[in-house]
């Protein structure tokens, strides 16, 4: 049985919005980071699914690969900065990151 493409798309959409929800509600910087990873993964699924179901070239897969790679790079940078934040403020709770505001 082949799972219809729509299922995957719904999955990815759900994943994406779980990520969004997480990003909106979590209070920890690392959680925020994980949420964005979820969103990026949803995108990756999308690319793969589209490629698998609709087209017979490899563009989508390659994009997925690059996406994963870049997401990793982003995470690395983000983690580095989070560590920096922690070093400076001794916390990574989001409520402490409100010094710069109007």
């Amino acid at each position: 049985m082949i799972i219809p493409a729509e299922y995957y798309l719904v999955l990815s959409a759900v994943l994406f919005f779980i990520g969004v929800f997480g990003f909106f509600t979590r209070r920890n910087l690392v959680s925020l980071l994980i949420s964005t990873e979820l969103m990026l993964n949803a995108v990756d699924i999308n690319f793969a699914v589209f490629n698998a179901y609709c087209y017979d070239h490899l563009e989508g897969y390659i994009f997925t690969l690059f996406g994963i790679g870049i997401a990793a790079a982003e995470t690395a940078v983000a983690i580095a900065i989070i560590i920096n934040v922690y070093r400076n403020m001794k916390t990574i709770h989001i409520k402490n990151l409100r010094e710069l505001k109007d």
Binding site: E59, F66, E74, V77, E99
Partner: protein, 473 residues
């Protein structure tokens, strides 16, 4: 596949080689050689600009159409490079301070990698390359924003920037994925023929737009701007506000006209709404700002709105206006940031508008330059800003958006108000304890001189504009 094709990407290659040279120099050089590091970088960059400008007189299409370069793009790249040089020149004092002295090399490398990213953004004719370019341009920037390791504002700005950036690129990628899904290709040229303006395309377009809108900092994608600008080191703020923004605008223009040409009505509507929102809301915020860097953030958002007036035109005309606007914007904005950078070390808690009180009495030259730059930003003749603004309005008007132009014009009055507030502070307000006379170092001076020349002559001498116009496509 012909590997020689790599060699045809001359701007990228030369930049990469500089990258390598700096990297090696950073690794090996010690002692007194490090002292001339800055100068060397500047010279290298100058040479690179030369290569950029002279490099490609013809159009080049590489890698099966993924990469494209033509004189206009070369010019844009050269413009960004020049801007970067100006920023680097201004960075001298900051880089020599104790906390950053040993991180000089990192600074250059990070900056150059963003520059390469921007090059790819401009030259990309494939979404993968575009995506890579965008990420390459924004990730190192996050590092730069958080460059001041021991200043928690810098860290906060960095985290805000990187998280927002990730969020936005996720949103953008989500949009791109749908484009891919419906078109089956990621090449611009192929995609353009398929796109028709169906709801899914609109959805994708808006998502994509949001991603670039984040980099251009259009309302409502702008909220990170003020915080990051304020927290980042001044040099980085300057870089963010002009170079990064300029590159994103160029990219947006190219993508909109190359990919979404069939959906012109849709994206014009988006720009219409976003422009009004950006200019108005940014102006409203700017009025109330006291921190100059924060203020400049909102000013830059509002300026981005004006740039959009040129983008909305979508023709070669609009492109000329846009490029010219950005060029003028680069020199004017960098002049302001140059001044901020020079006085920053005298202000304990960020540069406030009040710090400028009586600035003219103590530093007439800097104040004068600052005034001209602000006037240029506000669009006052005979400075370049007036011309660029006028052309932008003309191009939007040409496209038939009269009401938009009108609203933008009304907003120029508000913007004039807040620019004048600073002028007022410098010239009129009294201060018992003004900023002490500053002696800028040579590099900053060169940079500011170039900015000044740009502000004064870019408008009056029309050949720059005419040449841009010849290149536009």
């Amino acid at each position: 596949m012909n590997y020689l094709e790599f060699l045809l990407m001359r701007p990228e290659i030369s930049l990469l080689s500089i990258f390598v040279i700096i990297f090696l120099f950073d690794l090996m050089a010690t002692g007194r050689y490090r002292r001339i590091f800055h100068g060397i970088v500047c010279l290298l960059m100058l040479a690179h600009t030369y290569i950029c400008m002279t490099g490609s007189a013809e159009e080049i299409t590489l890698f099966g159409g993924m990469y494209y370069n033509n004189p206009m793009l070369s010019f844009m790249k050269a413009m960004l490079t020049c801007g970067s040089i100006l920023v680097i020149l201004q960075a001298n004092r900051w880089l020599r301070s104790a906390s950053t002295y040993y991180k000089q090399g990192e600074f250059y490398i990070l900056m150059l990698s963003t520059l390469i990213g921007m090059y790819f953004m401009l030259s990309a004719r494939h979404f993968l390359l575009l995506f890579i370019g965008i990420e390459l341009a924004s990730l190192p920037l996050a590092c730069l924003v958080a460059f001041d390791k021991y200043r928690h504002h810098s860290a906060e700005a960095g985290i805000k920037y990187i998280l927002s950036s990730m969020f936005s690129s996720a949103v953008m990628l989500y949009g791109i994925s749908f484009l891919y899904g419906s078109c089956g290709t990621l090449y611009f040229s192929d995609m353009a023929t398929i796109l028709s303006g169906s709801p899914i395309h609109i959805f994708a377009l808006v998502m994509f737009f949001a991603g670039l809108g984040f980099k251009i900092s259009l309302v409502p994608f702008h909220l990170w701007t003020a915080d990051s600008y304020q927290g980042a080191p001044t040099v980085v703020t300057a870089y963010l506000s002009v170079i990064s923004k300029g590159a994103a605008v160029f990219t947006l223009f190219i993508v909109l006209t190359k990919v979404f040409a069939n959906m012109i009505v849709e994206w014009q509507a988006i720009i219409y709404i976003l422009t009004i929102a950006s200019i108005t809301i940014a102006n409203l915020f700017a009025i109330k700002q006291h921190d100059i860097k924060r203020f400049m953030a909102f000013s830059s958002i509002s300026q981005a709105g004006y740039i959009m007036l040129a983008v909305i035109n979508g023709t070669a005309h609009g492109m000329t206006a846009m490029v010219f606007y950005i060029l003028v914007y680069i020199v004017a904005n960098l002049a302001v940031f140059g001044v901020i950078e020079s006085i920053e070390h005298q202000c304990t808690d960020g540069v406030k508008r009040e710090d400028f009180n009586g600035f003219y009495r103590s530093n007439p030259r800097l104040a004068f330059l600052m005034t001209l730059a602000l006037f240029s930003l506000a669009g006052i003749p005979p400075f370049a800003g007036f011309f660029s603004k006028f052309f932008v309005f003309m191009s939007a008007f040409d496209a038939g958006f009269m009401i938009l132009v009108f609203i933008a014009l009304i907003n120029t009055v508000i913007s004039l108000y807040y620019y004048l507030l600073i002028v007022k502070a410098m010239f009129i307000n009294q201060n018992d304890n003004p900023i002490k006379p500053i002696k800028c170092d040579l590099f900053t001076r060169i940079s500011l001189t170039f900015c000044l020349l740009g502000i004064v002559f870019l408008g009056i001498c029309s050949f720059v504009y005419i040449n841009i116009d010849k290149l536009s496509f």
